[in-house]
């Protein structure tokens, strides 16, 4: 039998050979046996792709890359510490904080949030490099869910953010020993450490997802830097990290509408021993709810963006 495939896909020649009977059959026989061997070999190594393994591997890559690039550690941890020392020294005289706490003490959790934000930015900006260098293509053609791709990146960034922020919260007060900051009392203890880590992880997860969302559509890191200065930095500045919200006026409203305000408030409530100093802030349940809500929103958008087959994604 000699059937032309429909539509004609260019096998005119091969079909006519099939009609002769001999040569094509011989060909398919050899092909059949080598295919069989191939299938047998494949059966030996074939494993179902596992989302957990993919997320683990993608997240691990973030950590390995981070620790190989020393400048990133300096950037993400060094700058906030310098800010804390310098702003602390400069503003301590004029600052009138809630319940009379010093500026350094007020600014302390804010710096931890800044560290989380910087780490989130630096780890998601690599999406743009991954795309430019071609690495991302290899991940996109792998048989893993797009959710796993996003989670791998975001979890990697979150782990880095938490590591650094906890390091700062635990060791920051020691800067007082070398005389660059006054002694501050911190509410971080062994007993609330797991809760603080959990909360920082939540804030880190939200901010890394947000960074992913911003970095994904971008072609160059310049664009990301622009967004960083006009959107991400103000977002941090207006989150109650740098100065407390006034009682009324437009600034109070902007701060109230900023989802990161609730990230900062929650952390403040957890690590400030002086309860009077945090009395005016949003409650812990509200902080938790808003932070979880924003994380879910950013993450969903990031997964949706990654799943779209577009010309941009194909680059």
């Amino acid at each position: 039998m000699c059937l032309l495939p429909e539509p004609d896909i260019g096998f005119g020649k091969l079909n006519s050979r099939e009609c002769d009977g001999m040569s094509e059959r011989d060909m398919s026989n050899t092909r059949g046996s080598s295919e069989l061997i191939g299938q047998m070999k494949r059966a030996g190594t074939e494993r179902k792709p596992s989302p957990v393994l993919a997320v683990y591997s993608l997240a691990k890559r973030e950590l390995v890359r981070f620790f190989r690039q020393r400048t990133r550690i300096v950037g993400a941890l060094g700058q906030p510490i310098i800010f804390w020392i310098l702003f602390g020294a400069g503003l301590q005289g004029s600052f009138r904080g809630p319940a009379g706490i010093s500026y350094q003490e007020y600014f302390f959790p804010g710096v931890a949030v800044m560290i989380v934000m910087f780490t989130a930015i630096f780890s998601t900006i690599s999406i743009i490099e991954d795309r430019r260098e071609g690495f991302l293509q290899g991940v996109l053609v792998a048989p893993i869910s797009r959710t796993a791709i996003v989670l791998g990146k975001v979890l990697g960034g979150t782990i880095l953010a938490v590591l650094q922020a906890v390091l700062f919260l635990a060791l920051g007060p020691a800067i007082a020993w070398i005389g660059l900051a006054p002694t501050i009392s911190t509410g971080l203890t062994w007993s609330n450490l797991p809760v603080v880590i959990g909360y920082l992880a939540l804030v880190g997860f939200a901010l890394t997802s947000l960074g992913y969302l911003i970095a994904w559509p971008m072609d160059s890191t310049h664009g990301f830097h622009a967004i960083m200065s006009i959107f991400l930095m103000p977002m941090w500045l207006l989150s109650g990290s740098f100065f407390p919200a006034p009682d009324s006026g437009w600034l109070a409203w902007v701060i109230r509408m900023n989802p990161l305000t609730y990230g900062t408030s929650g952390l403040r409530r957890l690590v400030t021993p002086n309860l009077d100093a945090v009395a005016e802030l949003p409650s812990l349940p509200l902080s938790l709810a808003v932070t979880i809500g924003s994380a879910v929103l950013y993450l969903s958008l990031a997964i949706w963006m990654t799943g779209r087959q577009t010309t941009h994604n194909a680059r």
Partner: protein
């Protein structure tokens, strides 16, 4: 018939906003075959490659790989294809071993199984002593080999390679093709390769020539060459317009004008060469006679040279 088709493409159109990249492509690749997509840059190869590798959505038409529709079964397709990109998809900050291990994890391989497979491929591709090198520090040729190893970790049924010879010296190119040939023999892997190099195209069982989004020729390299018919005469002349006229009148032939030279396809070309040289000795600066090449096939079908068709 369709069972043994590794790749089947029917009625495929693709446009980027206004610009048509693919304009009605139909072809098939048999299981175990080495198929080449030859064409100038901008001819549609890369778009087709991205559609086959599930990176772009199918707009019009149908693309199936081993019977799986890329539009509806992208995830299943991804499992059976291995993809080697033109720009290496390696992480330069990771070592060769870490790159391969990461890839193995993405395909569900881990532990002893992934180690064995990575060692096996590194051995075969001559990378055994490079495991600890950072991928970013490798030469272009070595990067390409790691890239190929990466795409083979999960024993793909179909290997898609986009311009695999980019950045390879002739020796590296030969090694790569020797390896690909062995892979086909040993495992029956189907190979689909895009290229703009005639030499590379010669190594394929069958070729499709793409130009301006259309498949202008399809067949084995021999079939394509013999379709040109006879020999190819190329004449360099200071006055191509005038000489073409003269030849047309004298020999009842219609020479093709290709840039500053004339081109004639004819059987018994050596006799024509002798006659032309005898008839117009003053008009010719150089004349050559050759068996048709794949480039001649391209010229015959499009009326212009390969590189002239390249679009920025």
């Amino acid at each position: 018939m369709s069972d043994s088709l590794a790749v089947s493409v029917a009625g495929l159109h693709h446009a980027y906003s206004e610009r048509k990249a693919l304009d009605g492509i139909d072809f098939g690749v048999l299981a175990g075959e080495a198929f080449g997509l030859l064409g100038p840059n901008g001819g549609g190869k890369t778009t087709l490659f991205r559609l086959l590798s599930t990176l772009l959505p199918v707009q019009t038409g149908k693309v199936t790989l081993s019977g799986l529709d890329v539009a509806t079964k992208a995830q299943d397709v991804r499992q059976i294809i291995g993809v080697t990109f033109q720009s290496p998809s390696l992480d330069g900050k990771l070592t060769v071993w870490e790159n391969l291990q990461h890839q193995a994890h993405l395909y569900g391989l881990y532990g002893v199984q992934s180690k064995t497979r990575i060692r096996e491929l590194m051995d075969r591709l001559g990378l055994s002593d490079r495991g600890k090198d950072l991928a970013g520090s490798l030469s272009g040729g070595l990067k390409r080999r790691v890239e190929v190893a990466k795409s083979l970790l999960h024993h793909p049924q179909i290997l898609l390679l986009d311009e695999p010879s980019t950045g390879l010296d002739p020796g590296g190119r030969r090694d790569l093709w020797e390896y690909l040939t062995r892979l086909r023999q040993d495992e029956g892997t189907t190979i689909l390769v895009t290229t703009h190099l005639m030499e590379e195209a010669e190594r394929c069982d069958r070729l499709g020539i793409l130009n301006q989004g259309r498949m202008i020729a399809l067949g084995t390299p021999d079939e394509l060459r013999s379709s040109v018919g006879g020999d190819c005469l190329t004449i360099q002349t200071p006055n191509p317009e005038g000489l073409a006229e003269l030849i047309a009148v004298r020999f009842q032939l219609r020479p093709q004008r290709i840039g500053e030279s004339l081109r004639i396809e004819k059987s018994l070309g050596h006799e024509l060469l002798r006659d032309i040289v005898a008839a117009f000795p003053g008009e010719i600066t150089a004349i050559s006679l050759a068996r048709p090449t794949l480039e001649d096939v391209f010229i015959a079908r499009t009326g212009h040279r390969f590189w002239e068709a390249e679009q920025p």
